[in-house]
């Protein structure tokens, strides 16, 4: 824990010298992964690395509500939606091709760093690029609805594959640094960092709610969320969730698929190295 705190303080100092700072090395990132995962494995003894796919449901502090979730999983509310997702995925483009012809990376390796453009390829961006390349209209809403269903369909075919995002390129390490900075920096009127709630206080209660562990964040996404289903829009991508989180700490949300959230998704994906995919997931 002390180490994590000093990391947070270190991050603060890193901001001051960001312009001159060297990118983080591959070895350093590997260290970060071991430290991040080690923190949770020690904090929640008995919860194995692969158990973190179930989000807050995996934590012993949530045990009294887990039965409720398990019952829901007998007939998951997203099942009819997944049939719809399959139809949408299989619908051919006007040129006769389809999503199966898109040049996609394995779902457990996203976001993928592209050296040529010095950019991160998210699955969302790849699908839209594929639509465009085939003369189709890209999907405008990248936070929910059809886009979420399509990526749920694609990612679900890689379920149980452990997360394995590549960060060997120097450019990728710079993106990682951006994401790590975002994760550990305090923001918003309430002055919370992602880590304040999901590392330091993971498993603790905010009134009646239990804070989920940062480890495992994203491997179940897109999720079908009870809270979102109240307004008839149950699906959400990680970037939709990030926006909600930022609003909750009273910060202005960033643009979905923008630089900030792509970097954050990259950082979280790398922290999840070895945690299997489980898509879609139901969350409260």
């Amino acid at each position: 824990m002390k180490k994590l705190v000093s990391l947070a303080v270190g991050m603060g100092m890193a901001v001051l010298t960001a312009s001159t700072a060297q990118a983080i090395s591959e070895a350093e990132i590997k260290n970060d992964i071991a430290e991040f995962q080690g923190f949770f494995l020690k904090r929640f003894p008995g919860v194995a690395l692969e158990d973190y796919v179930d989000g807050v449901n995996a934590l012993p502090q949530y045990a009294h509500r887990r039965a409720n979730w398990e019952l829901m999983m007998d007939f998951p509310p997203y099942e009819p939606e997944m049939e719809k997702a399959e139809e949408e995925w299989s619908a051919p483009f006007a040129n006769g091709k389809g999503f199966d012809d898109c040049d996609l990376a394995p779902a457990n390796t996203y976001p993928v760093y592209d050296g040529a453009s010095d950019d991160l390829r998210t699955l969302v961006a790849d699908l839209n690029a594929c639509l465009k390349a085939n003369g189709e209209k890209p999907i405008k809403n990248v936070k929910r609805g059809k886009m979420a269903r399509l990526i749920a369909h694609y990612k679900s075919q890689f379920n149980d594959e452990p997360m394995a995002v590549d960060f060997s390129a120097a450019g990728a390490q710079a993106w990682y640094e951006k994401g790590r900075q975002f994760y550990w920096a305090k923001r918003g009127q309430l002055n919370f960092s992602c880590a304040d709630c999901h590392v330091t206080n993971s498993g603790n209660s905010v009134r009646g709610d239990v804070l989920s562990a940062g480890l495992g964040h994203g491997v179940g996404f897109p999720v079908y969320r009870t809270k979102w289903s109240m307004s008839g829009k149950p699906w959400g991508t990680t970037h939709r969730r990030y926006g909600g989180c930022n609003k909750q700490v009273r910060a202005s949300p960033f643009k979905a698929q923008g630089t900030e959230y792509k970097a954050l998704e990259y950082y979280e994906a790398i922290m999840n190295t070895g945690v299997p995919l489980k898509v879609p997931s139901q969350r409260q």
């Binding site: 705190v5 947070a8 303080v9 603060g12 009127q189 309430l190 002055n191 919370f192 304040d196 709630c197 330091t200 206080n201 603790n204 209660s205 905010v206 009134r207 009646g208 804070l211």
Partner: protein, 141 residues
Amino acid sequence: MLKLKTAVVAFGAAIVLAATAGYGPAAQAGDWPTDKQCKKVAKDADTIIKGWCTAINRKAGNCLACHQAMVNPWPEGFPVGGNIAPPLVAMAARFPNRDDLRAQVWDATAKNPTTSMPPFGRHKLISEEDIDNIVDWLLSI
């Protein structure tokens, strides 16, 4: 057996006495209002009740999101606080100097930069008067 019973009764009486005597103006036994009741009573209440009302309001202090608080008796059916931060008990003993407590609520990051506690004064989450009221309430519990 009889002795035990009297002891229990006496003990109970002592608690009631302590409750009415110990909590000053706010201790109109059983009168800690809930969120809803606060909307009606807070306006004309003393600073201790006003402080409590600000503390429990989710759109104001929302202290109970992270802290448990000991008020006696706890409003019936009212959700207890979270366990992120230390429980708010024996505040007068822990903060003999009122200014220290006020400074902690105003900006807890001054003493601990990595604290999860929002800087209520520095980020203008609640008014200066609200903070004074919360400090009055805290020192009464």
